[in-house]
Symmetry: C2
């Protein structure tokens, strides 16, 4: 996959991902280890809860989103290093059998004033189910590396913006 | 554990948790499934990265924090239902052998205008390592159930505030 540097990003660019299906067993296994609340562990208990049925832990959705991001076209050089995250929401529950994908949109780009080798990008990361409904949203502020001077690749940049 | 209703919470209350140790194998196993970036998977590769050594995925820290919260004294009735999360940060990397605990502080309390059976609380959730340094922070806006009228338990409330 092509690594993207600070200079390769532009406001309005979007990046897609592959898809991943989540099954009831995945939901229960994650919940047993990290979020053992009845509505994530047991169909019967979940029916009587606010969720009205088995639902994935939001942190499971967040973790799966990261997996989809790592395998997506969104490949900042040096890795996806998050400085901070805001407005994390789970507007819809993730249900057994859901198939998730991720869309990343570049919202802002800012050079670092103190560190010439890095920059910051603000991205909106939306996780969608097979019905194209958002199951998770967040805004991430990421640290990205700058390309060394003299080795810019404007061709790549144009392709990404198109 | 005692379930806490909207009426049981007060600004400034804090809740502690137990502790959980995280080992290199846990870090790699989580990363292999959810965040397969070199600095979460391999000591050698991690040494050459921004982290300077193996570090847990931030989403692993978030998941472990949830586990500690579920087992903590912070037990809102009906479960920990997050409406939204802000200012999620990982100020320090989580390293193999780290032992984590969670502190929850109540920042704001607000009744729902449209739904008399629920209310909202804003909490700051801080995850600390064995050196008492924050490895994760976030602000969560949670939905909590109100106690039914006529069954208030002021004794519990006083105890929590003390």
């Amino acid at each position: 996959m092509v690594e993207l540097f600070f200079e390769d990003f532009a406001v309005g660019q979007t990046f897609g991902s592959g898809r991943r299906k989540i099954e009831a067993e995945d939901i229960k296994r994650f919940a047993a280890e990290f979020d053992p609340q009845p509505f994530h562990l047991d169909e019967e208990a979940a029916r009587g809860s606010l969720f009205g049925g088995l639902a994935a832990s939001g942190w499971h959705t967040a973790a799966l989103t990261m997996r989809l991001l790592v395998e997506s076209d969104f490949q900042p050089a040096g890795g996806r290093i998050g400085a901070s995250f805001d407005e994390l929401r789970w507007p819809q529950p993730v249900r057994p059998g859901d198939e998730l994908r991720v869309e990343t949109e570049i919202l802002e780009i800012k050079a670092s004033k103190s560190k010439p080798e890095i920059g910051f990008i603000k991205v909106k990361v939306t996780t969608l189910n097979q019905a194209e409904r958002a199951v998770q949203e967040y805004i991430a502020n990421l640290v990205v590396q700058r390309r060394q001077k003299g080795v810019r690749k404007p061709v790549l940049r144009d392709a990404r913006e198109g």
